[in-house]
């Protein structure tokens, strides 16, 4: 199967990128159990996203919903190359990252349904998946906004390790962004700061060739060679085939190791493709069905499935049972989300401040007399005036 991300396939070469180096072929193959685990994650994310699309059609999910179908190998491979204590931050196409990081499909689905059992109690939504336990510092809805945050997470881990604990910087931060975010000022400021301050952060561009309907060459200079952007900030860059899980894993392992060791930022041009529209309302008029069909031949799940079968790491029966299991898990997640209560209206006034002056009721006296949203007290409780 030719990899459609190189120049050879010019008609469908959405990235127009320089050839991608191959790494996995001369590496030892990870053990069978690990491979089966990754396979399950790939299948889980795919199934989860398919059910999201259905639930969206059924109007169970509101707002914007961006699915990850086609890019699964990126999240799974990148997370596999990390340690659990390494912070991760991403954009709004974040369900795959959340699941790969270990968020339960129940918590993820319930968040999308806007229910109390969601990872953010239904207050974040599809674009804003947060999970403290798994060091997931959010999906972020503003294009590019997470890039300075990623630099800051790396600043903080390094500061904790070196300044507070007098040790050696031990964690790396993974910061995902889309190719569209390359055009934001925040991205360039973050790269400059990370380069300047030697921050252990890896910017992974999930280069799926499009930002909404704008193909990368219409929006971004040097689109054939994004590495040049990082080099301009003195940051080493790597190109990885994001359609191939083993390539992602081995490529990222190297990048992560070096970043951890040297405490220097890194940049990854992760070539991939999103199979579905930008969000649920996108009819994909800006590209041909032929182009999509070609990319679907290089499906990351199909490719990996074939590989592990060839390796004898999994049997056809095991594949069937993984698929069955995953279907059941996601069906359960949807059911769980559907049965989870909507957040109480009083939740509206929670988590606005950590340290409110008494229970937070808004600075203005609300003019919602008698309404359900009327908070029980108007004014903050105060102690006497003056110095404390």
């Amino acid at each position: 199967m030719p990899t459609p991300t190189t120049n050879e396939n010019s008609a469908h070469d959405v990235h127009g990128g320089l050839p991608i180096p191959r790494r996995a072929t001369n590496r030892p193959v990870p053990n069978a159990e690990l491979l089966r685990g990754w396979y399950r994650e790939l299948v889980l994310i795919r199934e989860f996203e398919i059910r999201c699309m259905q639930a969206y059609q059924d109007k169970k999910i509101g707002g914007f919903c961006h699915v990850y179908i086609g890019q699964e190998a990126v999240a799974v491979g990148c997370v596999a190359a990390l340690k659990p204590q390494d912070p991760l931050v991403t954009a709004y196409r974040d369900h795959g990252h959340a699941l790969a990081r270990g968020m339960t499909s129940r918590a993820c689905m319930a968040e999308m349904f806007g229910r109390v059992d969601g990872c953010a109690k239904g207050k974040g939504g599809s674009m804003h998946m947060f999970d403290r336990e798994h060091n997931l510092f959010g999906g972020h809805g503003i294009v590019g906004a997470q890039t300075p945050l990623g630099a800051g997470l790396a600043f903080a881990t390094k500061y904790e390790d070196e300044v507070i604990n007098n040790g050696k910087s031990s964690r790396v931060t993974l910061c995902f962004l889309g190719d569209g975010a390359l055009n934001q000022g925040a991205f360039h400021e973050a790269l400059n700061l990370a380069g300047l301050m030697n921050l252990p952060v890896i910017f992974v561009v999930e280069n799926n060739g499009y930002s909404m309907g704008t193909s990368i060459h219409r929006g971004t200079t040097q689109s054939h060679d994004l590495s040049s952007k990082a080099l301009g900030y003195g940051i080493d860059a790597t190109v990885i085939d994001g359609m191939n899980l083993l390539e992602v894993y081995h490529g990222m392992k190297d990048v992560v190791e070096k970043c951890r060791e040297k405490s220097r930022p890194a940049f990854v041009d992760m070539r991939c493709y999103r199979y579905k529209g930008h969000s649920m309302s996108d009819p994909r008029k800006y590209r041909t069905r032929d182009e999509e069909a070609i990319w679907e031949q290089g499906d990351p799940i199909g490719t990996f499935e074939k590989f592990i079968l060839d390796q004898g790491a999994i049997t056809h029966d095991q594949i069937k049972s993984v698929q069955k299991e995953v279907k059941a898990e996601v069906r359960d997640a949807v059911e769980f989300a559907d049965n989870s209560p909507v957040p109480p209206l009083s939740d509206l006034y929670h988590d606005v401040y950590r340290e409110p002056w008494g229970r937070y009721t808004g600075t203005s006296e609300p003019l919602m007399y008698g309404g359900a949203m009327n908070p029980p007290t108007f004014r903050a409780t105060r102690e006497g005036d003056g110095l404390i």
């Binding site: 974040g124 510092f137 973050a190 002056w357 004014r379 105060r382 404390i388």
Partner: protein, 330 residues
Amino acid sequence: MSATQEIEFRDAIRDAMSEEMRRDKRVMLIGEEVAEYNGAYKVSRGMLDEFGPRRVIDTPISESGFAGMAIGAAMLGLRPVVEFMSWSFSLVAADPILNNAPKMLFMSGGQFGCPIVFRGNDGAGGQLGSTHSWCVEGLFSNVPGIKIVIPSTPADAKALMKTAIRDDDPVFFMESERLLGMKGDVPVGDDVLLKFGQACVRRTGTDCTLASWGRPVHFCMEAAEELAKEGISCEVIDLRTIRPLDIGSIERSVRKTSNLVIVDQSWSFGSPGSEVAAQIHQRCFDDLDNHVHRVHTEDVPAPYAFNLEQEYLPNTRKICEAVRSATYNA
């Protein structure tokens, strides 16, 4: 309060930051020219020498980048103090400071807070022209999730800065460059804090309440002095924080004086001043002898010329006129 010491406003802020940095290694200062240059307005002088470049950090001219970076660090558990050379320059960092910091806790369902202080010069300086004279409280007070502190004296500045650094929420701390050289008595000691949301009665009076915050509090004091000669007795209330807003203290005062003049250095349309006016009309409708009067900055971009700038800002003359009008002495 026991011993006090007379120091400059800028040093009061510096002392607060330094004391908190000694207390807690998670606190660090970051911004343009804060370290080697000792701060554009010399607020952080001496801090690099004491704490070194890992904790007092110079950045490039990159507000969006370093504001966002500090927010990421705060999410992970540090307690950054971020200096904007001027709040006027925070506008290029609007997305991180308004879209990230105040919403992180809510959006994450309570998982990730943002204990951070943004501070810097706010309001017109001396003839800095339209782009450098912002009173950002007019814009930012609209946003829930942040706390806004605007001190008028060195003692308040120190105590409120310490509270800001220990607070677990994002705090916007606004300093008037015009006040930084002002001296005042500041309590000695590491643990003098001031609770947010507590106004202070700077002068008691019976005929009219003057409510203000930050630099114009001083204009109010001058006006009260002048009006006293005309037999009009003013009570001056310094709000000290805009969010939380101590509306109760204004309410109590207005019930006594039956008149309110608000003096607010930001533009009038959709301002903290208009919010206070709305709330007082609602709470004290039957107590008021006149509608609430407001003295704001004129509704035009900040001019450069000296005379125009004086006329543009709230000043003692305008405050006196407003009080006379409110008390039917015009």
